[in-house]
């Protein structure tokens, strides 16, 4: 029963990792950009949530109404103002610029919020649970998993059933021809980053309610998201959810064996899958 419990909790944790990963996967899919600052942007969203909740007394989940548009705006501005200049055949500029951005965000957060760990206070939501067949399921993890499914479904639907999604796919397939067809790729990239950071905002708030956070944890969140993307297979959003779940389960099982093994077990699961299935479990595009 304890093991079943670990697997169930790990699965639900996977929902959070899938949310970390969804934004990463989306911008890679649209513009082949890997954002090293992604983890720090998740932490930035959590801090924005902290500011909003302490300033207005709102519930963290209600703060999403402000944090999601704010992050989307930051995303659009970041893409048009900075990241669009780095795109091209050379992988070095985007990598190094987002790496620099990561250091800037991390130290900026340190400056403003200090290194003290913070949490978002969600009241009863943090501890509420329901018992299902002898396993206690936290309402928050269940909600997180549900949101992850909804977000991924929403992204899929946007990609394949809207004009915006068509534009995303067009610039992803061939930037120049998409441009000739009247799409402004700079604007489309900006919208993609806005959407990605909107998702990141949700991930950041849920992270902040679940655990304490400080400015230094961004790198770790980037790695979890990245592992979920690679395990699931590049360009496949549902695969990313499966990747997140595998990572989450590996971590909770590792923690069950020895608390020191929690993170290590997740990384090892990732490396094993990389060794056995280099393209991930459900690859859609080649990297």
């Amino acid at each position: 029963m304890e093991w079943l419990n670990a697997i169930v909790q790990g699965t639900l944790l996977g929902g959070l990792y899938a949310l970390f990963a969804a934004g990463l996967s989306l911008i890679f899919g649209v513009m082949r950009l890997v954002n090293i600052a992604h983890g720090d942007l998740i932490v930035l969203a959590a801090y924005l949530g902290l500011t909003v909740t302490t300033a207005t007394g709102m519930h963290p989940m209600a703060a999403l109404v402000i944090v999601v548009p704010a992050m989307a705006l930051i995303g659009y501005a970041l893409q048009r103002g900075l990241l669009n200049q780095t795109l091209g055949d050379d992988i070095l500029p985007p990598l190094l610029v987002t790496f620099g951005l990561s250091v800037i965000i991390q130290n900026g957060l340190l400056e403003v919020y200090t290194a003290d760990p913070q949490t978002l206070n969600a009241g009863a939501l943090e501890t509420a649970s329901v018992a299902v067949g002898g396993v206690a399921l936290g309402i928050l993890p269940l909600l997180t998993f549900g949101i992850a499914i909804a977000v991924i479904w929403g992204l899929q639907w946007t990609f394949y059933h809207t004009a915006l999604g068509r534009a995303f796919r067009a610039v992803s397939d061939n930037q120049d021809i998409a441009q000739l067809m009247g799409l402004n790729r700079r604007h489309i990239f900006g919208l993609a980053m806005a959407l990605a950071l909107g998702v990141t905002a949700i991930a950041g708030i849920l992270l902040g309610i679940r655990t304490s956070f400080d400015p230094s944890i961004g790198g770790g969140r980037l790695i979890f998201g990245f592992e979920a993307v690679i395990i699931g297979g590049l360009g496949n959003l549902w695969g990313t959810l499966v990747g997140g779940v595998i990572l989450g389960v590996a971590q909770t099982i590792g923690a069950k064996i020895d608390p020191g093994w929690q993170l290590l077990a997740g990384h090892i699961a990732f490396l094993v899958i990389l060794a056995v299935r280099p393209n991930g479990l459900f690859p859609r595009v080649s990297g």
Binding site: V34, L96, F99, N107, E111, L264, H267, P278
Partner: protein
Amino acid sequence: MNLQDYSVSRSSKAARVAALLAAVTLLVLIAAPWWAGRADMRLMGELFLYLSLATLWNLMAGYAGLVSVGQQAYVGFGGYMLFALTMLGGLNPLVAIAAAGVLGALISIPVAVLIFRLRGAYFAIGTWVIAEVFRLSFAQISALGGGSGSSLPVGIVKSLASGRAMREALSYWLALGAAVLVVTAVYLFLRSRQGLALTAIRDNELAAGSLGIDIWRTKFIVYVVTSAFTAMIGALIFLQKLRISPDAAFSVNDWTAFVIFIVVIGGIGTIEGPIIGTLVFFALRETLADLGTTYLIVLGVVAIVVMLKAPKGIWGVIRSRYDLQLFPLGYRVKHIGQSKEN
């Protein structure tokens, strides 16, 4: 036009002058224990180790296209090997440093096989995962202090040299020697056949492959050699610090972020770049370090601006303006004798 009117040479006047100046500088630096204060020597020792790390990272990223954000894996690994081999294995620290290099090369082989499956930016994050795995693994080893780390016992430190002044001088010379060794090794490597292959891959991977260059193998060699040297530098770094902990040993900021900024600011893909970058980095650090986190923000902004406005860095700007190459790698065609007309 006659072919005999032209000569192809590698060296240039600037390069010969630079070599002479470098030799003089080196002699002055070797003599530092007789003219520099203790604090200055410590700073210079650190500078040489950063120069080595930057030169190695530049070889990987600037020439082999292997952009790693996980070199702290090998810095930390080397540091821990120094502690493990001296404390648990009873080796002399100097032997342990060399052994750390060999072990670094050995461990990098399976790592390379695994993460070479990732491309471009995903390779970068993959290297970070490896560094995390190393950090978490060493944090599990209780004989090396687990998560809180350990200090190098006095007996081992004293086995290096009995007097404090001699120890400090030795530590300084080791750092200087490492920097000279790394820069020379990279220079000679780039001048070799393998280096030519590497430069070809840098310029156009597809074309290089079609000329029969084994791209995977060339990159693999670079990765393993870089890892070995990085592990040795790591051992030297923690021989200076005398204390190691997983968080310090595998710090992404200290061993990768700073190194990347040094190379980008100095000029990526050149041997001169990391040298200039290291000098700029230390100058900035010594003047702005009091600002704490602001200093890191400034560094990040400078790196981004350089990457966008002058992607070849400081040395790239100088080179394009004055056509200089202090470490002659390329060939120049010169016109000699009296030609009739061109």
